[in-house]
């Protein structure tokens, strides 16, 4: 059902396929030969089926194809390169163990994406941060004081500055922000994944955005 997939996840799938094709062309020096044109890149489903039968090369292809996306999601949710690296490893180990259960009912990227999110959230729960994830008022709301805000001083939000600011968010805020604003999940999906109400998800998202604004302004003041 198309509506079940966030738009940006669908975009993720499309770009993934385009990048795979682009990589193939690069290997041929940018020239699409007749042989290359006739050579069909195996789909994720085909690779998953081969992996499930013990084909190590197929599993490695899956890893190479999806490593960056899995790491990026882990890094944005965990904001720690070492933990994100360990979690990426854990995702692919879990994937190796469970790949036989992928039946192609959804896109492989969506399935892997959801598996990654679930493992990161499970990590947070095990790390005893569940109370933070569930707390509606995770942070003191940012108060706007008349006369102290000047729209002209708001820094230009570039992607690197935002990445840096996201890493400074409390885990609960960060998870909701990354899942909603970066990955494109809806609040009802986030509420199911995180075990919170949709209202809490909305509230935490809003507070996360306000906190990010504050962090970006602080970053800009230091520069």
């Amino acid at each position: 059902m198309l509506i079940a997939f966030p738009i940006r996840v669908i975009w993720w799938i499309i770009i993934g396929n385009i990048m795979s094709i682009a990589d193939d062309n690069k290997k041929d020096g940018g020239v699409v030969t007749a042989e290359a044109a006739n050579k069909k890149e195996p789909t994720d489903l085909e690779l998953a089926q081969r992996s499930a039968k013990g084909d190590g090369d197929a599993f490695e292809q899956i890893y190479r194809r999806h490593f960056r996306r899995v790491y990026a999601l882990c890094m944005r949710m965990m904001s720690d390169p070492v933990r994100a690296e360990d979690m990426t490893q854990e995702v692919f180990v879990q994937l190796f163990n469970k790949i036989g259960s992928f039946r192609g009912e959804s896109a492989f990227t969506t399935w892997l994406h959801r598996m990654t999110v679930n493992l990161v959230l499970m990590y947070f729960r095990k790390a005893s941060t569940r109370s933070e994830l569930l707390t509606e008022e995770g942070e003191t709301p940012i108060q706007i004081v008349r006369g102290t805000e000047n729209p002209e001083t708001m820094p230009v939000v570039d992607r690197i500055a935002l990445e840096r600011a996201v890493q400074q968010l409390p885990p609960g805020y960060r998870s909701v922000f990354v899942l909603h604003d970066v990955e494109g999940y809806e609040h009802d999906e986030i509420s199911k994944m995180m075990g919170i109400s949709a209202g809490t998800s909305k509230s935490q998202l809003h507070k996360a955005r306000l906190k990010l604004r504050q962090l970006l302004r602080q970053q800009a003041a230091l520069n």
């Binding site: 190479r64 706007i144 000047n150 729209p151 939000v157 494109g184 809003h206 306000l210």
Partner: protein, 81 residues
């Protein structure tokens, strides 16, 4: 509408989730209140930039793909045997 109430509703306004009458009140407040208007513009910028993060990972630094693959390979072998 006061600043605090207005700011609380800005994400919902952005998502189009507030009733038209409330949206009108917020917009009137924003028109009269440059600080709140600034907050709204900044939140919109953050959302747009966040969306672009989801579309490209160029702003991230990646660890050594090969090193992680070797670690996974060792664990896989251990699991299989």
């Amino acid at each position: 509408m006061e600043c605090e109430e207005s700011v609380e509703l800005l994400s919902e306004l952005h998502a189009g989730n507030v009733e038209e009458s409330t949206a009108l009140l917020i917009r009137r407040h924003l028109a009269d209140c440059p600080p709140c208007c600034g907050v709204y513009e900044d939140l919109q910028t953050i959302v747009v930039t966040a969306t672009s993060l989801g579309q490209s990972n160029d702003s991230l630094e990646f660890p050594d793909e090969e090193r992680i693959w070797q670690r996974i390979t060792v664990i896989r072998r251990t699991t299989v045997h």
